[in-house]
């Protein structure tokens, strides 16, 4: 059974298709792993064991009946708790939504079900996706499978930890400023933030509407591509959804495995996303990867993106502004918890205030206050207005860079996973951890994080961020798969194989 959970989604899929493994067996194996390790890791907020097994049995029956099923049919998946699900509570990591079961599925969830993937449960996250460590979840932290005293990244720490600890081969995340890519980087997994508008946001509980994007989390680039193909594409329910006809991301990833896939590829290294503030081991692995790329025939150029300097500042005006409005609906009237005030009359205003006071955590309140302030008359132009101008400048920086190169690269995060509590009391330090990932959200371009080794000083995973022009998501998969293949050939194993302690720990836990 432990063998089954270590398969990639693609490998599991072929075993399911040749019927050497049933969906029930695959699902049970992952549920067993959840039982074994998740009491400790706490990647999941909710596990739908019975529903998952029932779904798996139905899929097995259909396969036995000779029905033609999709490539990921029968493959289990974990779903970030920011996505609405009909049959599972959806809390977005917040107390204010405790126990809420939505009356509808998010579009991406609907597409997962239509493609016969098996939802295992909902994964932990920073409350309303506000955070880079999953420490802001109202339901307790998620531990990093590589070092349980460290954060798994955030906000999607639950999805990344679930995949990295073999509790699920695939997961869904959402990325507003790095919430898919940074957790992937610090857990040694793969995460993709697609082009803004490539994947529907309908049913994704909004943090910042103009920045949010749903995307895949996995252990390999090809697996992420398979999942991207399932969830991507136009959705009339999301007005910002692009109507493009998209190429197959799986085919793009496969194309990257061909010999010489990196020959002549122009790779831009962003000057502003390196140097001081970056951990030595992170810079070292990043530099080594560039050397590998050069050896494989890629042309490395340094490019400058002068306005990236202002990205974090602009982001922390735009995000709170939109969030303050998006979170206004949490008022106790139609859904979620209701808290009556200790004193005073039970007017809707008093009940709403008491509910929001009790239901929102400190980081959420901080951002609502920041955003309300930034949108206020007299401050709008100076804050929100200026931030939007910075956003335009950053888009221009990207446009100018992509005139010179095919892809841009940087470390996915300035550091490896930090310890719990290390940045909790210093919001600025926490915010600055997103410096590498935020520009892609501000410009709407796609970004991917893939593991590129362990930092020598702490033995923790380091990620490479690859960015492509808007709509060129396929390019990420092609070059991401190529670089992944190159690294694994160099190492002689996969990234997660480099964590014997994790393998031992899971096996030991599994034996309990």
């Amino acid at each position: 059974m432990t063998e089954l959970i270590r398969l990639t989604a693609a490998e599991l899929s072929s075993r399911l298709q040749d019927k050497s493994v049933s969906a029930v067996e695959a699902t049970q194996a992952h549920l067993d792993q959840i039982t074994a390790v998740d009491t400790d890791l706490h990647a999941f907020l909710y596990v739908a064991a019975d529903a998952a097994l029932a779904t798996a049995a139905r899929i097995d029956a259909r396969r036995a009946a000779g029905e033609e099923l999709g490539p990921l049919a029968g493959v289990p998946i974990a779903i970030k708790d920011v996505l609405t699900t009909l049959d599972m509570p959806t809390t977005a990591g917040s107390k204010i939504l405790e126990g809420w079961v939505p009356p509808y599925d998010a579009t991406v969830v609907r597409r997962l079900r239509a493609a016969d993937l098996i939802p295992l449960g909902k994964t932990n996250m920073d409350e309303f996706a506000m955070g880079s460590s999953t420490e802001h979840s109202a339901y307790g932290v998620t531990r990093n499978p590589w070092d349980r005293d460290r954060i798994p990244g955030g906000s999607g720490g639950g999805s990344a930890a679930a995949v990295a600890s073999f509790q699920a081969p695939l997961a869904l995340g959402s990325d507003t400023g790095g919430s898919i890519r940074q957790p992937a980087a610090v857990t040694g997994s793969v995460g993709v933030k697609p082009t803004y508008g490539a994947v529907s946001r309908y049913g994704a509980i909004a943090l910042a509407s103009s920045l949010d994007q749903v995307g895949p989390v996995s252990r390999t680039v090809f697996d992420a591509a398979l999942l991207h193909d399932v969830i991507g594409g136009h959705d009339p329910l999301d007005s910002t959804s692009l109507t493009d006809a998209w190429p197959s991301m799986a085919a793009a990833a496969t194309a990257g495995l061909k010999d010489g896939a990196l020959k002549g590829v122009r790779v831009g290294v962003i000057k502003e996303l390196s140097g001081s503030g970056f951990q030595a081991g992170v810079t070292q692995r990043f530099t080594e990867t560039l050397a590998l790329l050069t050896a494989a025939g890629a042309e490395i150029t340094e490019v400058s993106a002068p306005n990236f300097e202002y990205a974090v500042a602009a982001y922390y005006l735009i995000l709170p502004a939109e969030a303050s409005s998006n979170l206004a609906r949490f008022d106790s009237v139609r859904f979620g918890i209701r808290v009556d005030p200790a004193e005073g009359s039970l007017t809707s205003e008093h009940v709403m205030a008491a509910t929001r006071e009790a239901g929102f955590g400190p980081e959420v309140k901080r951002r609502i206050i920041l955003g309300t302030y930034a949108l206020s008359t007299g401050y709008y132009d100076a804050y929100y207005g200026s931030a939007q101008k910075v956003r335009t400048l950053i888009q221009r920086d990207f446009a100018a860079a992509f005139d010179q190169v095919d892809i841009l690269v940087s470390p996915s995060a300035p550091t490896t996973a930090f310890k719990f509590g290390e940045k909790l009391e210093d919001p600025m330090a926490m915010y600055l951890n997103d410096i590498t990932t935020i520009p892609a959200n501000l410009a709407g371009v796609p970004g991917m994080s893939i593991p590129i080794g362990l930092a020598p000083e702490d033995g923790l995973p380091v990620g490479l961020q690859i960015m492509a022009p808007a709509r060129a998501d396929a390019r990420l998969y092609t070059y991401g798969a190529a670089i992944e293949q190159l690294l694994e050939a160099t190492w002689g194993h996969t990234m997660l194989d480099q964590a014997p302690a994790l393998a031992l720990a899971t096996t030991a836990k599994g034996a309990i």
Partner: protein
């Protein structure tokens, strides 16, 4: 609440100059709501026309109703507005339980329509051009019902119920520029302007335009400034005035109330006010400062709109004749006196009369039937007159009367048959056997019999007292069961009386 002092209207106008402004909300009659696929329907069970989007559930997202944009542009064009080349939605942030998202999706600095005007004609014949600043799109709020209190108002209620069926229904808000120089006509300008908007919305077919159902709602802004002053006074905004007459009354009331306050040395509070239909007064709502901070920002969940010039021009071609021009034309064509024409307009029967005339009837007959017998039957049945009978059927009926086949009395019976679904007027005449008896022989026999039974009447007629013939005519009509032309009977009675004198009657 104590009734506030009011100043005599004429005196108020002597001392102060009223300045007006109107915000009219027109609810569009699209099949679905502004930002989701829920039915836009009045009278459904509470909260049945709802979905994650219009309920403001976590994860819900808006989708623009293109028909609503089309209707808004047509409304804007009919009001002479410019149609913006680039327009976008904005969030108006405020907390209220009838607003599911706790923000209204509206428009702020890029409204879809701007800079138009509407010229209205007052009863005196005075023409007033009301400048329109903008017409923008937004979604409506849900409906609150306050339970447990005696007044039905929020004060004193135990709890409130929310029905989100109306939440998300598309609205166009039409905002006027400041209206100066209204003078004594201020109340009538309010009524006539709102009537004009309502009429245009109806003619365009973009709204059901029923004020009693809240399809058209008016917020009336009124301020006064002392004669000779250039400085604007403090305004009040009387919200949700729901009938034309109420608009007129509310404006007049505010002028009289504000004049009394100002004249007594008081100040006007900038506030919203509620109109009370029953007592005919306004009462203070919430204070409204110009600094109310709605924290507007562009709606990030919707993409900006760029209505193409070609599309706008196509839509311009779909505009009907402006209602005011159409009224003038029809009154002239039909040759109606003002009162006759007003009667048709007020009964909402202009379309019906026009169609009946088009089907061949004379304008006067069409008017007489629609505003007379048909209106009476409709009134009794509690339905709209134009729902009772097709104009073509009425035209056919009128033709039968004019051909002498039916008397007015018989025609009313035929009309009943037509309304009862018995067929065309000709078919009802045939099946009910209602045609006029035009056989003089049968009539003469009946007349001779009647005259012989009433020799005194015969004597009177012979004495030249022709009105005495009525008794005989009545008897003959009765014998003919009404199916005779009374005029012809009268002719024959006089003729036979004369003949009788010559001795043919015993």
């Amino acid at each position: 609440m104590a009734k506030p002092e009011l100043m005599d209207y004429d005196k108020a106008l002597e001392l102060f100059e009223p300045v007006l402004g109107f915000e009219v909300h027109v609810e569009l009659n699209t099949k679905t709501k502004m930002f989701c696929g829920c039915a836009n329907e009045f009278g459904s069970g509470a909260n049945t026309n709802t979905c994650p989007t219009c309920l403001g559930l976590p994860g819900g997202l808006p989708q623009v109703n293109h028909k609503a944009i089309e209707s808004s542009i047509r409304l804007g064009l009919a009001l002479g507005c410019e149609i913006a080349e680039h327009s976008r939605f904005a969030r108006k942030n405020y907390f209220y339980p009838d607003t599911a998202k706790n923000f209204q999706t509206s428009q702020y600095d890029d409204p879809i329509c701007h800079d138009g005007s509407l010229t209205i004609e007052l009863e005196s014949g005075r023409l007033v051009t009301v400048e329109i600043e903008r017409a923008h799109m937004e979604d409506d709020a849900g409906k609150l019902t306050h339970m447990g209190g005696s007044t039905g108002r929020i004060q004193g209620a135990d709890y409130s119920l929310v029905d989100y069926n109306r939440g998300g229904v598309p609205l166009v808000e039409i905002v006027t520029q400041m209206i100066e120089g209204a003078e004594h006509d201020a109340p009538e300008i309010g009524r006539t302007y709102v009537a004009g908007i309502r009429e245009i919305a109806k003619a365009l077919g973009v709204s059901n335009a029923r004020m009693e159902e809240g399809n058209v709602r008016c917020d009336a802004n009124v301020s006064l400034r002392p004669r000779g002053s250039k400085v604007l006074g403090t305004r009040t905004e009387t919200k949700n005035v729901n009938s034309l007459r109420s608009v007129e009354r509310a404006v007049r009331y505010e002028i009289q109330r504000q004049a009394a306050v100002l004249h007594a040395g008081g100040t006007i509070t900038q506030e919203t006010r509620h109109w009370h239909e029953d007592t005919g007064i306004t009462s203070a709502g919430r204070p409204k400062s110009d600094a109310d901070d709605y924290r507007y920002f562009p709606e990030p969940d919707l993409v900006p709109m760029a209505p193409s010039r070609e599309w706008v021009e196509e839509l311009r071609l779909t505009l009907p004749e402006p209602p005011a021009a159409r009224r003038k034309r029809l009154q002239a064509d039909w040759g109606f006196a003002n009162l006759e024409f007003q009667d048709v307009v007020n009964s909402d029967l202009m379309d019906a009369v026009e169609a009946t005339v088009a089907a061949g009837a004379s304008a006067q007959s069409a008017r007489k039937w629609w505003t007379g017998e048909i209106a009476r039957l409709a009134n009794a049945a509690g339905v709209a007159a134009d729902s009772l009978v097709q104009p073509a059927q009425l035209a056919a009926l009128i033709a039968l009367v004019e051909a002498g086949t039916l008397t007015d009395r018989l025609a009313r019976q035929v009309l009943e048959g037509v309304i009862a679904g018995e067929g065309t007027p000709a078919e009802v005449v045939a099946s009910r056997g209602l045609a006029v008896v035009s056989d003089d022989g049968a009539l003469i026999a009946a007349i001779d019999e009647a005259l012989s039974k009433q020799p005194d009447v015969l004597a009177k007629i012979r004495d030249g007292k022709l009105q005495a013939a009525g008794a005989v005519i009545g008897a003959v009509m009765k014998a003919m069961r009404g199916q005779a032309d009374a005029a012809r009977v009268r002719e024959l009675v006089l003729e036979r009386a004369g003949t009788a004198e010559s001795g043919s009657v015993e």
